[in-house]
């Protein structure tokens, strides 16, 4: 398979942003029909690289060869015309257009300027069916789809082009297990038709499963090219990415007994989202919630935090019942939440990193209403060191950070202050292996200091490896609760999938 | 000044009065002039008249500053005028009360101020006040309506009113004169809409008024410029059962009255010719002369123009005063 002709070749590509050399001489070689994986730490330049390929950025130096000719796309349209389609890391959909309109945005089938709606929706349905999601109505507003659904639409858009190369920038970050399998099925389907795929992910197991060859980036340079995806030892890959070896992923489980009960949730419910949820978190305990995308975990977390008003049930923190629908009450009671969608829910993109890190705590550093910038910067620097933020300069606007580094800022916010109970929703989404290990260690350390943690993650190993106790949710209900040691990945997946199968049966 | 263009083709109201003793050239005077930015025929005519009248004198240097959008802007503009040391200032203020302080200041600095049309509350703030009679306009309009309707023996008439910009005090005075006079005859205004001195707002308000009063006997429109729109609305609604009285006395209105082919039967004057007179008198003040027909050696302190009623009968006399 890898003996196919080379379709894409990059030589010494350089791209600078004000103050940053994002790409500093990249080499890359992609063959027809292969899945070429890009690996690299957060901020290594992966997204920048693919934006250069798809005509969003113009390289400052270097040479790109595409299908044997020199390639200098002036804009995204030109790259698409040349047969390169891209699924970007940040969802690039228009909320108030329908699924079909998003899929065909920019190249709508039309007659005299009128959109051929029938044709477009038939075509979209075909693509969606091919993607295994024929149930999504093409006429539905994208706004009403959950993140996973939006990712499917992004893919549909890429497939709506007649592409010879499809670039996927962390497509699996918002997908659950079954969806990832589905994605891989599609990728195999594509490659068997000779289409090349560039695949970016921080999950090594995915790269092993779907990848053919791997190129590793570090600080904007290619540190290793064309490694065999299945056989290169993990230690090798990680050390080329990070320049060091990472011995373990999950820190040792703590042995200390859990303390007093911090959080008690009783019969919590919201119509159409989740029902009758009861759980508790003790001080020093990490409780993980596993479940499929759409099982209502984010909604549950947001409701506990007061960002949504509970329709039934109560949330009690250290014996005191919280006023429903009041974030202020939750924060005063010592709760903190790192929400799921960093851009829309967590970050002030134009503001400096340090102000984002201290967003929930700056009042604490203030005296008489006057802020203390020096203290804030110092604290933010501490967090930046802890989480290996790069670049390390905390005065830079968050907007200029790579996706994974933005995620670190979101999580870092709640490592400050005297949070008693931390609600983490997908805290490692898009975070590289190195930083991920650091993050796990930080979470464990917090627990060791007596903080309670309620963790939602779509990565079952993460839940099992990090949590003391695991809750499994399905379709808005709690279906299982057990100590992490009593569960293994297959059991959890079975529990979770059973639900989805059932749901599918009903839909049919 | 930069806006010379197009002044002289407008039929400005000037008094060339060659046989007047005061017409003889005298001491050189610099007259500073300020009026609000014109977005309306009447104000435009004020500025044109002033300029044209000044042009007839060889001994007058005329300096004008435009007053911009509001009283604050006018105050700022006047400051720059004062710094150029004119002999007399002729001023049509945005609002007499708001610019009273300026009048005081200038008078104290020894510059006589001629207030045009919008009175300063403080008598020390001006040397001469020349203005139209807003209240009298309402009185004249009402008087005309009363005689017409009484002649037709209408007992409980439906009377409409389309006022100008409601936030201006002059509009209030006009409406008050109108209502007071009607009340003396036992009449009242059935519906009053306030337009904005523009034809399009006149049309919109008139359309509303006509809809609110399906049958009407008379309507007074404060301003002939907005009257273009009012008349348009009336013809669009196909209504002609009532009489209409205008205000100010534009050339178009006077012609229409003369032609007598529309509901417009009369208009009550509020003539921008006062600007021409103001310049003449300012010159005399600057030269320390009096009005030759009067016994007094100096120009008097107050002059209020009468609001006359122009009808088909006397329209021919007023045509030359139409603006």
């Amino acid at each position: 398979m890898t003996d196919n002709e080379v379709v894409l070749r990059l030589e010494d590509v350089v791209k600078t942003f004000p103050g940053v050399r994002a790409l500093d001489g990249v080499q890359l070689e992609v063959r027809a029909g292969e899945v070429h994986c890009l690996l690299g730490q957060n901020g290594a330049g992966k997204s920048t690289l693919i934006k250069v390929l798809s005509g969003v950025h113009r390289p400052d130096e270097g040479r790109i060869e595409w299908l044997g000719g020199e390639f200098k796309p002036a804009n995204p349209q030109a790259a698409m015309k040349a047969g390169i389609a891209t699924i970007y890391q940040e969802l690039d959909l228009v909320d108030d257009l329908s699924v079909a309109e998003n899929a065909f945005l920019g190249h709508e089938p039309r007659r005299f300027g009128f959109v051929r709606r029938g044709y477009m929706s038939r075509h979209t349905r075909q693509i969606l069916t091919r993607l295994g999601h024929g149930e999504i109505p093409p006429g539905r507003m994208v706004r009403s789809l959950p993140a996973a659904g939006k990712q499917v639409v992004s893919m549909a858009r890429a497939l709506s082009h007649d592409a010879k190369l499809i670039i996927m920038d962390e497509p699996s970050a918002v997908l659950a297990h079954d969806e990832v399998d589905n994605l891989f099925r599609i990728i195999r389907d594509l490659t068997s038709n000779g289409i090349a795929v560039i695949y970016i992910s921080h999950r090594l197991e995915e790269i092993r499963e779907i990848g053919d060859r791997v190129t590793v980036l570090k600080d904007g340079r290619t540190t290793a090219a064309n490694l065999p995806a299945r056989t290169t030892p993990t230690r090798d890959l990680v050390s080329r990415m990070t320049g060091r070896t990472i011995e373990y992923v999950f820190p040792e489980q703590s042995t200390q007994d859990r303390g007093e009960e911090l959080l008690r949730v009783d019969g919590l419910g919201r119509a159409g989202e989740f029902a009758d949820i009861s759980l508790s978190v003790h001080s020093g305990e990490i409780v993980g919630i596993a479940g499929l995308v759409g099982s209502g975990r984010s909604e549950l977390l947001e409701t506990i935090f007061g960002a949504r008003r509970a329709e039934s049930g109560t949330v009690t923190v250290r014996g005191k019942t919280l006023r429903p629908g009041s974030v202020g009450a939750a924060v005063r009671a010592g709760l903190g939440m790192a929400p799921e969608e960093r851009k829309s829910q967590a970050l002030l993109l134009g503001e400096p990193i340090y102000r984002n890190v201290t967003l929930a705590t700056f009042t604490g550093y203030a005296r008489g209403g006057f802020t203390n910038a020096g203290k804030e910067i110092a604290e933010a620097n501490r967090i930046a060191d802890l989480l290996e933020l790069r670049p390390r300069d905390v005065r830079r606007p968050v907007r200029t950070l790579s996706g994974g580094n933005q995620q670190k800022v979101v999580v870092g916010r709640w490592l400050l202050g005297d949070t008693k109970l931390l609600l983490l929703d997908e805290p490692t989404r898009g975070v590289d292996v190195g930083a991920r290990a650091e993050l796990y260690q930080v979470i464990r350390d917090l627990a060791a200091r007596g903080v309670g943690v309620l963790l939602v993650s779509s990565e079952v190993p993460e839940v099992l490896g990090l949590a003391d106790r695991v809750l499994v949710m399905r379709e808005g209900r709690m279906v299982r609760e057990a100590p992490a040691g009593e569960l293994d990945e297959d059991t959890v997946l079975d529990l979770v999938m059973a639900g989805s199968l059932q749901a599918e049966e009903v839909t049919l | 000044t930069s806006n010379d263009s197009g002044d002289d083709d407008n039929n400005a109201q000037v008094n060339t009065g060659n046989n007047n003793a005061n017409a003889a050239p005298g001491k050189q005077v610099t007259i500073g002039f300020s009026a609000p930015a014109a977005d309306h025929g009447w104000i435009a005519a004020i500025t044109n008249n002033a300029k044209a009248q000044a042009g007839t004198y060889s001994d007058v240097e005329f300096k004008t500053v435009e007053a911009g959008a509001d009283a604050a802007a006018q105050r700022a503009a006047l400051q720059t005028l004062v710094s150029q040391k004119p002999d007399v200032i002729v001023l049509l203020p945005h609002d007499g009360k708001e610019l009273n302080a300026f009048g005081l200041e200038a008078m104290q600095a020894g510059i006589p101020v001629v207030n045009l049309d919008r009175a300063f509350p403080d008598a020390k703030a001006y040397r001469l006040q020349i203005k139209g009679d807003n209240y009298g306009m309402g009185v004249s309009a009402a008087t005309y309506i009363i005689t017409q309707l009484k002649a037709k023996n209408v007992s409980a008439p439906v009377i409409g009113e389309i006022a100008g910009m409601d936030e201006l005090e002059l509009t209030q005075e006009r409406s008050k004169g109108f209502a007071d006079t009607l009340a003396q005859a036992g009449f009242r205004v059935a519906n009053r809409r306030a337009a904005r001195f523009t034809a399009d707002s006149g049309q919109q308000e008139a359309a509303s008024l006509l809809q609110a009063l399906p049958k009407m006997d008379a309507v007074w429109n404060h301003d002939d410029d907005q009257g273009i729109g009012v008349l348009a609305a009336i013809s669009q609604a196909n209504r002609k059962e009532f009489i209409m009285i205008g205000g100010a006395g534009s050339k178009a209105a006077i012609e229409a009255i003369q032609a007598d082919n529309s509901v417009l039967k009369a208009t009550v004057t509020y003539s921008p010719s006062m600007a021409s007179s103001a310049i003449s008198l300012a010159r005399l003040i600057g030269q320390g002369r009096g009005m030759s027909d009067l016994v007094e050696l100096q120009v008097p302190k107050e002059i209020t123009l009468a609001s006359e009623t122009i009808t088909k009968e006397n329209a021919a006399n007023y045509l030359k005063l139409g603006f």
């Binding site: 798809s54 995204p76 349209q77 698409m80 970007y88 690039d92 228009v94 909320d95 108030d96 257009l97 945005l105 920019g106 709508e108 009128f114 959109v115 999504i136 539905r140 507003m141 789809l145 959950p146 659904g149 858009r157 159409g272 029902a275 759409g294 003391d468 399905r474 379709e475 808005g476 209900r477 279906v479 299982r480 609760e481 057990a482 100590p483 749901a503 | 407008n10 977005d39 309306h40 025929g41 104000i43 059935a190 519906n191 009053r192 034809a199 399009d200 707002s201 006149g202 049309q203 919109q204 359309a207 509303s208 399906p214 410029d225 273009i228 729109g229 008349l231 348009a232 609305a233 178009a252």
Partner: protein
Amino acid sequence: MTTTQTAAPPAPEKPAEKRSWWRDDASEPLRRNLALVGVLILLVIIGIATRPDLYGDSTWVRNNIFTILELASVIGVVTVGMTFVIIGGGIDLSVGAIVALAGVWSTTVATQSYGAGGMIFCAVAVGIGVGVVNGILIAYGRLVAFIATLAMLVAARGLAAQISGKQTQVSTNTFINDIAAGDLLGIPLLVYILAAVVAAGWVLLNRTTFGRRTVAVGGNVEAARLAGINVKRHTLLLYALSGLCCGIAAIMLTSQANSAQAAMANLYELDAIAAAIIGGTLLSGGRGTIIGSLLGVIVFATITNLFAINNLSTEVQNMVKGGIIVAAVLVQQFRYKSLSQLFNRT
């Protein structure tokens, strides 16, 4: 450490129906529009209650509907253009000034000598021309739309004053003047024009690539750019479209007033923006409907009409108007959900 093991409870009945892939807010615009219709009905009921004498007369009622629609027609046409601009992520503060400039330009003696065709051509050309200048400044000069169109407002009114010599220019063209007076099958011509512009706007927004791209540009510029849409050109076209609507409105207004002047169409920008927003257009772009904007315009016109037939004085009018606007929006925001919450709380 205790291990609680809950047996999987029976799956909630028909979960798929309750919890589908989507949250059901697709009907949001429809609901808003229905609420606006409700507000309209309310206003009419107030009208009937306060002036039963007038509302008793069916000819009067018929005429009144047309009066309201005619009153709404000019600003309605302007609002259609404004709705596109706002959906596309911009704002056009110069609409009133464009209407004035186009109106004044097309009623100069020179232009009137070309007859009705010449006047219409002139108004439309001036409208589009100014719109294109706006568009160039915003799309290619990268000026903030608010500032660029504010500058244009000032400049265009100044030019209009210059051209007209600050005089009210009377239109002597009977064809133009008759538009506002004429009707067809008992319905005023201006209402037809409004209907045509609204229909064209609806089709353009909902059925053409131009409309769909407008939503994309306003809703997510970055996504639009990545999808290969020429955002700059599209932005330019949006302002040109708004200018075109202003040109049409200028002819309508000139016809209504039989004249044009530099101060005409005063504060139309505020009226048009307010109507669009009350109609559900998001000021930040990316969402809005033509029908909503039309309803917004009609609501405002009906309020004005209500005041006129009740002979409210200007100051009372204004105070009440503020209250009605707030109430109208509150009615619109009224949700079935809040109602059910209200009951649940007891």
